[in-house]
Symmetry: C2
Subunit: 229 residues, 2 copies
DNA sequence: GTCGTACATTTGTACTTCAAATATATGACT
DNA sequence: AGTCATATATTTGAAGTACAAATGTACGAC
């Protein structure tokens, strides 16, 4: 019995086919973001389908942020937002446990790998900003405030990397990270009970080198890393 | 003139409102992936809207992978796929130049930061697999084959990290990476003209330690890194 | 009791109609 | 002639109805 001979059945619905056809059309016509596309009726007629089905296919593109539509202005291709859709599914309730752990690790990998970028892109201004966050954290009294500045500190590092995409990505990961963090009951430990403080990291970023910074970052992250490394 | 007093006008379309209402409903009812949701007519009646508009809202959730539907089986919530939607917009033509560069850097950051995971998760079997790729690459003759095994080698590293999410993420990044790579005209250099070969990396992964491996990885990636570090 | 057939239910597709918003054309008034 | 207001046309948004297709369910024959 040759299972490989089983036909990969056409499980495509009408709307699926329309979607594919549109995708092909966009590519073949070499449409760029900003270009406008034919009106619904014309597309429906050209494809030989109802406006209903066509609209559903278009709706998918709209959901993905690939096209925008305005009444009587027709529809235009647009620059999609890489993370807009991800945001909507980035919820601890919706993702599987393994994925949650993977994301937890992913953030740690990013923070360990980002050191070189930080030293390349640091400057007087963003170092001052970082210092200001450290000082505010040191003055903070209650746990909630400390946590707030803790997150701010790490976000500031991504910002200093000058990589907008990575910054947005990290912001997406924060809620997942906190969720896993709490599930591991790591929050029991006092937040400041850490060999390497944010102040240490700041000083090293200012005067040290990437490898030294990474070593300290790994120590700083050790409460999270211990199960991993 | 208090601009803050200006009402943030209801620019929401009917379908937008339905979408929000459904989202709230899912959360309030504490629905988990796998649970089934009421049939279209019931939802439409409960919301006081047409089936048409309701279906468009549902279509968005389907596009995002949050619900699945089968004829006469009704609809069920599902585990969304983090990257499924991202795949569709991950095209050099659709993304802006800055985003493309950011993604290029992102991959480099991942490969530098992943070292600890590799040493934690490496075992006899996946080391053998990696070795096999190295050997195939060394035997390869034409440029196309070399490139193929080059990609395979790096993908294998992500696989060895044991982090499925990161592996999928990296696979998404490959086309972007190659695109930027070619734009930088880095491909002019012969692929093997590298101080540190894949064989070196393999040996270090087998017998060395994370920091040594990272140092060599950075050297290996230096053709890409030179503009960054 | 098992199998097959007929029926019911639910999602998928099509067509029609109207509403709302925007662009274009027309015309009146200065 | 030019500008403003109004009317008209066009295009997307939404509703409703009808039917097709697929799947589950119940009934009945053997």
């Amino acid at each position: 019995m040759q299972l490989t001979k089983i036909k990969p059945i056409e499980n495509l619905t009408q709307v699926d086919k329309i979607e594919q056809a549109l995708q092909e059309y966009f590519e073949r016509a070499n449409l760029q973001p900003g270009d406008s596309i034919p009106k619904e009726m014309d597309l429906a007629k050209a494809l030989g389908v109802s406006r209903t089905a066509l609209r559903e296919a278009l709706s998918r593109f709209k959901t993905l942020g690939l096209i925008e539509s305005r009444k009587n202005k027709g529809m235009t291709l647009s620059f999609p937002d890489l993370f807009l859709n991800m945001e909507r599914v980035m919820s601890p309730k919706l993702l599987g446990g393994q994925t949650l752990n993977d994301i937890f690790e992913l953030r740690l990998v990013l923070e360990i790998g980002i050191c070189e970028l930080l030293f390349k892109r640091k400057n007087i201004q963003n170092l001052l900003e970082l210092k200001s966050i450290v000082e505010k954290e040191e003055k903070a009294t209650n746990k909630k405030e400390i946590l707030k500045y803790d997150i701010e500190f790490h976000s500031m590092l991504y910002k200093m990397s000058g990589n907008e995409t990575m910054l947005r990505f990290q912001k997406l990961l924060i809620p997942i990270f906190n969720h896993v963090y709490q599930e591991l009951h790591l929050e029991e430990q006092p937040l400041r009970n850490n060999e390497i403080t944010h102040r240490d990291l700041y000083n090293t970023l200012k005067d040290g080198d990437p490898d030294e910074f990474r070593t300290k970052m790994k120590k700083h992250l050790s409460p999270y890393l211990k199960d991993i490394i």
